[in-house]
């Protein structure tokens, strides 16, 4: 393409061709890998911790949940190295949704630390049901943005499980319930969405 004058009809054709080229290119580019990274990490950690606590009876294994910072760090490093040639409105919207959700996680940890410190006993147990609610909201908002109905409605399972945890369930079962919820509202819908693209 050169810096040459074109007639009116060619102009209109060029505009529509460029717009459709961009749309074709970006339709396939929704990056689902990060959802699978977090989804599978949660499922694996949940299973391992449930087993460890069941076998040993030692509740301190719950600190194993902090291992979830590892995929976060890995994702941060990988993201900074990746060359992004184009950023769409949808991608930037989804990214901003998860920035807000990430901030909620961070603020909740900070709040639990401060309150626990003041009361002389730090207890992160509330993080699990709250995380289900936060991650569920994030998935639902992502689903609305990318128009993926599987992302929008499956987080209701997470909300239901969070309510059940708080009302009725013994704490060690929380690990299993937590992992199963992520499987239902993150891992499975993401695989379904990826298969649609293929």
């Amino acid at each position: 393409m050169k810096d040459k004058k074109i007639n009116e009809r060619e102009s209109l054709e060029l505009i529509s061709e460029m717009i459709s080229r961009t749309k074709q290119g970006i339709a396939m580019k929704q990056d689902y890998n990060r959802f699978l990274l977090y989804g599978y990490a949660v499922v694996i950690v949940a299973l391992v911790l449930w087993l460890l606590i069941r076998v040993t009876g030692d509740g301190r294994f719950m600190f194993g949940w902090f291992a979830l910072f590892l995929p976060y760090l890995w994702h941060m490093v990988a993201d900074s190295r990746k060359e992004k040639h184009v950023v769409t409105y949808v991608q930037s919207m989804v990214e901003n949704v998860w920035k807000v959700i990430g901030s909620l996680f961070g603020l909740t940890i900070l709040a639990l630390l401060c309150v626990g410190w003041g009361m002389g006993r730090i207890d992160f147990a509330l993080m699990m049901p709250l995380s289900l609610i936060y991650a569920g909201i994030g998935m639902a908002m992502t689903g609305l943005v990318i128009r993926e109905s599987g992302f929008v409605w499956t987080p209701l399972v997470g909300l239901g499980v969070a309510a059940y945890m708080l009302v009725a369930s013994p704490v060690n079962d929380w690990n299993l319930l937590f992992g199963a919820s992520f499987l239902v509202f993150m891992v499975i819908p993401v695989h379904v969405a990826r298969n649609k693209v293929k």
Partner: protein
């Protein structure tokens, strides 16, 4: 009937292609624009500078992993200019469209 004059800055194949590509995305880098316009680096660079000087696009230069990266995004002014340009084109082609 008075027909508006076509914006000379947009009434050029390469500049119009750049602005049209940027219309559907939040941001695109130099290599993405080069690939889709099939222009030479030198020519593309000149046209990007012209659009940037007119305030139609915003250009950001940064270093990512030791490599320089130039990314462009359409400004509100550029978006309005393209809308006016398309409206003017439709007036020109009114009878045919």
């Amino acid at each position: 009937m008075i027909i508006k004059e076509l914006d000379p800055l947009l009434h050029s194949q390469l500049r119009l292609a750049i602005v049209s590509l940027l219309l559907s995305v939040e941001e695109a880098d130099f290599s993405y624009l080069k690939e889709h316009t099939e222009a030479t680096s030198g020519n593309l660079s000149i046209q990007i500078d012209k659009l940037s000087a007119a305030g139609y696009i915003e250009v950001r230069k940064e270093i990512v992993g030791k490599k320089p990266r130039t990314s462009c995004r359409l400004t509100e002014r550029g978006r309005e200019a393209l809308a006016e340009y398309v409206a003017a084109l439709k007036e020109y082609l009114g009878g045919v469209l």
